[in-house]
């Protein structure tokens, strides 16, 4: 139950930045409008591009805007604290706390994402629905699957961000790695362009990469493009990536821990 408390505290911490949240919603909405018109133009030329119709595409655009902060596509979240604490050396305290290091920060990040889902996720979706014709799931089960998928997306994103933060153990300055990680996340998640538009084999490749779990997979569940076996496979792939990444984080932390001991903190 400690982790629930951590998540709640994190939720509250983020809820204090009201002005920033409002400004962010405004920005997400502006970009939602711009990208919607772009997609409308694409699907006007090719009404079945990527297996989507134009309503799918516009819905995709707004949900993707809703995901930016929720799954932290651009980085940020509690892993930023980790990077800071590695730099200042405070990380030693965290590593020797009697609770799971990853669990502690993952709980915090899930609390953050819950707040962002309710504000920067919900608000742009409402704006999008008011301005454009969006597709909404017709069964509650689909909403549930979508939420599970978003949660898995947050864990995958957390795993990637944590690995990036851990590079701070070895590199003095992690900004370079951070920006390259951001490029991959924006491009391979579906945020820049739906992954279904990628040509030929590159489409299968990007759909199998971990970043697809951040945006593309949850939205395909929402749109009803993956149902039944496909839906289970999608969630399974997300869960697999989540497990692999968290294991990777654990491994890296163990190596870093040993390094800290050798160096004497």
């Amino acid at each position: 139950m400690l982790y629930v408390a951590v998540a709640l505290r994190s939720f509250r911490r983020y809820s204090t930045y009201t002005a920033a949240t409002l400004a962010g919603i405004f920005t997400n909405s502006v970009f939602g409008v711009i990208i919607s018109f772009t997609y409308i133009a694409v699907w006007k030329e090719n009404p079945t591009a990527g297996g989507y119709d134009v309503t799918d595409a516009v819905t995709f655009c707004w949900l993707a805007q809703a995901m930016i902060m929720t799954v932290a596509v651009w980085g940020g979240g509690t892993t930023d604290d980790v990077a800071d604490r590695i730099r200042t050396g405070d990380i030693v305290i965290d590593l020797y706390r009697p609770v799971s290091f990853l669990g502690w920060y993952l709980a915090g990040d899930l609390g953050r994402s819950a707040y962002h889902l309710l504000t920067r996720g919900l608000a742009p979706t409402v704006v999008g629905a008011l301005l454009f014709d969006l597709r909404f799931p017709d069964s509650p089960a689909t909403y549930l699957l979508f939420l599970v998928s978003v949660a898995l997306g947050v864990v995958v994103s957390f795993g990637i961000r944590m690995l990036v933060a851990c590079t701070a153990f070895w590199l003095l300055d992690q900004t370079g790695v951070l920006s390259l990680a951001m490029v991959c996340a924006v491009f391979f998640s579906g945020l820049a362009v739906p992954l279904v538009l990628f040509p030929g084999w590159t489409r299968d490749l990007v759909l199998a990469l971990p970043w697809a779990a951040l945006v593309q997979t949850p939205i395909d569940l929402w749109l009803g493009h993956s149902t039944g076996v496909e839906a289970v496979a999608g969630l399974g792939l997300q869960a697999t990536w989540a497990a692999v990444l968290l294991l990777g984080c654990g491994l890296v932390l163990r190596v870093a821990d040993r390094r800290l001991v050798v160096q004497g903190g």
């Binding site: 930045y17 002005a19 920033a20 400004a23 962010g24 405004f26 920005t27 502006v30 970009f31 711009i34 990208i35 018109f37 772009t38 409308i40 133009a41 694409v42 030329e45 090719n46 591009a49 990527g50 003095l172 300055d173 900004t175 370079g176 790695v177 920006s179 390259l180 951001m182 490029v183 924006v186 491009f187 820049a192 362009v193 538009l197 990628f198 040509p199």
Partner: protein, 275 residues
């Protein structure tokens, strides 16, 4: 005040180069990280264009324009935003400077305070976007179907100058609001980066009202759209007067004048922090 405007302008330019140069030297001491970040900047800003190319594997044209024409539009707006971002992009950190009190320190130095805010933590890696945009623009210039006469060359060069000034003005205008509330920097981003995102595509993909707003309200259409119509010799798809195609300098002057006014008002209404 006795100093004439030209002398003040020259001095402030020199001071900008001095301060910015200092930051370039500082970043050069962390060479590896600096080079990595410049590379990252080229790649990040290039994502948009790769996304457009991915779209073009599914379609042959967007809003009636082919990939080469869109590359021309895209390259132009990228170069303009990149140059403006390089020079004045740091102005968006005004709120932080005010909160930390470093703005007070700038107020008591004999250099224009806008120059100091922009030059502070000057990041030469932002050339990444300019480089990326230039590459796309250069490719487009060699591919578009244009008879390059002096008028078209002149309009193209003018487009880059005026577009840079328009984005510069919008950056400063947006940042001026941080004198009132230091939390709204993201709203300004919606106009600069959002304006850039909109003008990466032919405006024919937007409804008529949006195009009007981009012409008369937030005049980013003058950054590349109207000059491009002239260069590519395309009649205005919305039936707006052809004179608009050569009106970018007017838009640039208006935006910059408004920005200067907003900034001066902000400085005079500055409240500082603390007691």
């Amino acid at each position: 005040m006795a100093e004439p405007l030209a002398a003040r302008l020259a001095w402030n330019t020199r001071a900008f180069l001095m301060l910015a140069g200092m930051w370039v030297r500082v970043s050069w001491t962390y060479r590896a990280s600096f080079l990595l970040m410049t590379l990252a900047s080229v790649v990040i800003t290039g994502i948009d264009f790769v996304a457009i190319m991915v779209m073009f594997t599914n379609v042959d044209s967007l809003g009636g324009f082919g990939l080469r024409d869109i590359a021309f539009l895209y390259g132009a707006t990228a170069v303009c935003l990149g140059l403006a971002d390089l020079v004045v992009g740091n102005v968006e950190r005004l709120g932080r400077r005010i909160r930390l009190g470093s703005f007070d320190a700038m107020m008591v130095r004999p250099v224009g305070v806008l120059v100091q805010v922009c030059a502070d933590e000057f990041a030469i890696r932002r050339l990444g976007r300019v480089a990326q945009g230039s590459l796309v623009l250069a490719w487009a210039i060699t591919r578009v179907d244009v008879d390059w006469d002096p008028a078209r060359v002149l309009v193209t060069v003018g487009m880059l100058v005026c577009g840079t000034l328009i984005f510069t003005g919008i950056f400063v205008l947006g940042a001026s609001f941080q004198f009132l509330t230091t939390e709204g920097s993201e709203v300004a981003n919606a106009f600069t980066y959002g304006g850039n995102a909109m003008t990466q595509y032919p405006l024919t993909i937007y409804p008529r009202e949006v195009v009007r707003a981009l012409t008369f309200l937030v005049p980013v259409a003058f950054v590349n759209w109207y000059p491009t119509l002239f260069v590519l010799d395309i009649p205005d798809p919305f039936g707006l007067p052809a004179a608009l195609q050569l009106a970018s300098p007017v838009a640039a002057v208006v935006v910059c004048a408004l920005a200067a006014l907003a900034w001066r008002t902000g400085v005079r209404r500055y409240r500082s922090t603390g007691s």
